[in-house]
Symmetry: C2
């Protein structure tokens, strides 16, 4: 098993302990490793219930060890369904005691975005590695605080960018790297679905709602991953076709991005319409992906005849296994906190553009 | 043959003549009609040479009767290739004498956009029906003057929107009419090609260059025809990746449109990259077309399984035949001057948005 850091440290001199902190591997080979890391899911909404918990039945490097919920009935149901021991069930008040629980190696924050910062910081302070769902947080300041907290507590922070673990999306990223079709010139990226819900956090500004942080991040990632670059300016327009429901946040966002290389992208995201595609036009070819950010079945083609259609059992299982491998081996995460921050920087600029009606430098 | 209006009018009393003007059909059945209308092409560049002249070998309702060119060597070459009699060959100076030429029923203006207004007005004053290439003209004021001149001289004015005569594009327009997938929600429309030329009118502001009026009109038409609506606002961004060539005009334009129904579109057009596609997301389905504005081979599909792939020998031949039929039968043109004006209204708003950096109401 992976040694529980705090307990273990208490048995060592300070000097000896330092070499065991993440970032050092001096004694790593001497520490017996857990076969599977224990994950505690924080927030038991749809995504935890229908995607993450089932995925955790498929993972090889981690398992559902605990839950954190504010709803006792949910705690009871999950306890029975997944045989979770009482000692691994927390609520939002007693959550910090998780620091004393050696079963829990990782806290996965699956709460509304407005709560991400608080629970990532609390998890970090409890000495647990952290997975955090996207959008990372409502503001850049939040993201920076989360990254700092994890750094200060020497735990890893991974953002739940399942798509970056999907070989179909990795195929797009690979073309950005190997430049087989020359530089990217123009991109169209769209991600949306019709959301029939009316009182979800996605419609609530205080909870971090609005389509931009949710589906918008997929539209944005389509352009960012296809270029392998960070946008330097954006101009955006927010709108809604259901003002009775979308009172506080936008239902739809359109935005146009400029990249350092000269590549340009037009992006669309909406809670009003099902759409999900990416089209990349390179100097000497093209790539299409549709869907581009589905839970399964992302597929496409390239102008040279390459078919993008890699089989994948579960994005979320692959994501969690790969992130756990990075923790176990102390290697780089595929999508660390810094990657989440990159998106939120653009999201903030997009809202600024909406507010000013003008292009915003990033 | 179609009676030559001015000569015929001179033989009649004013009262009798009135009933023969376009818009009245009292004596129409009594006038022997030409089997084929004679077309004079004005401007013998690439489009006339490689597209229109060959198409005029396929047309049933019109033929290449004359040419108007400022280049004597071109006049000689065309005369020989197409057996054009000397009396039907004009230059820009003696062009107005075309009014006395009964062989010429229609003047087709294929000049750089900055010259459209002058030659459409001169053709109308010569009593000839007019076909005019797109973009109709650099400004709304130009378009209005052209429409007025044709109205005042009781001749028809058709804009060379070949795509609106293409059954594959008409399939898109039909869905806008029959609303089989409900209202349009989001559109992506892209039209561009890599233009290796450096000193063409397309790179020259005075001549009416810039990608927006050229390929941009196709990107715009993709959105306009898919909605069947006129945009009410636009926000646009111009750019270039070849500042040495695109000094005066933009190489690339991205723009976002809002329609009265709430439909939204992101559009891209460029002389820097080959791309040509349309994706329409309706409330209950989708339509894709790629290419969407090619000279041939426009094709696509819809979410209900409908394939869009109608065979077509020549867009331009069909366009000219259908426009000639409208002249012969005095029926509505598919794309009259008013349709060209609709696009230029948006193009003007796009340039205003680029200049101000803000959204512009149309």
């Amino acid at each position: 098993m992976l040694i529980e850091r705090r307990d273990f440290l208490s048995t060592l001199t300070l000097a000896g302990a330092a070499s065991l902190l993440p970032g050092t591997n001096l004694l790593a080979s001497m520490i017996p490793k857990k076969e599977k890391l224990g994950i505690a899911l924080v927030g038991l909404g749809y995504y935890s219930t229908d995607l993450l918990a089932p995925a955790l039945q498929l993972t090889e490097k981690c398992y559902l060890a605990g839950i954190v919920t504010g709803t006792p009935s949910k705690a009871q149901a999950w306890k029975e369904k997944y045989q979770i021991p009482d000692k691994n069930i927390y609520n939002y008040q007693n959550f910090d005691q998780i620091k004393n629980n050696p079963d829990i190696d990782i806290v996965y924050v699956v709460l509304p975005p407005s709560m991400h910062r608080e629970f990532v910081v609390r998890a970090a302070k409890a000495g647990k590695h952290v997975f955090c769902e996207k959008p990372m947080a409502p503001t850049v300041a939040d993201c920076q605080a989360m990254i700092e907290a994890c750094k200060a507590n020497k735990v890893k922070l991974a953002i739940g960018y399942r798509c970056q673990h999907d070989p179909n999306i990795q195929a797009v990223m690979q073309v950005a790297k190997d430049k087989r079709f020359g530089p990217v010139k123009m991109i169209t990226s769209a991600a949306g679905y019709f959301d029939a819900r009316t009182t979800h956090w996605k419609q609530n500004k205080k909870l971090g709602g609005g389509v931009m942080g949710d589906m918008g991040v997929y539209a944005l990632q389509g352009a960012r991953l296809a270029t392998g670059e960070e946008p330097i300016s954006v101009i955006a327009q927010a709108s809604t076709t259901r003002p009775d429901i979308y009172k506080e946040v936008e239902e739809t966002m359109m935005f146009m991005l400029e990249f350092p290389s000269g590549a340009r992208a037009t992006c669309q995201t909406s809670f009003g319409i099902n759409m999900n595609y990416l089209q990349v036009n390179y100097e000497k070819g093209w790539l299409k992906l549709e869907p581009q950010s589905s839970y399964s079945g992302n597929k496409g083609s390239m102008s040279d005849g390459t078919i993008i259609n890699f089989p994948l059992k579960s994005q979320q299982a692959k994501q969690m296994d790969e992130d756990c491998a990075a923790i176990i081996n102390n290697t780089d995460l595929i999508a660390p906190g810094e990657e989440g921050l990159r998106d939120i920087k653009v999201v903030e600029a997009i809202y600024k553009s909406v507010a000013t009606g003008k292009s915003v430098k990033i």
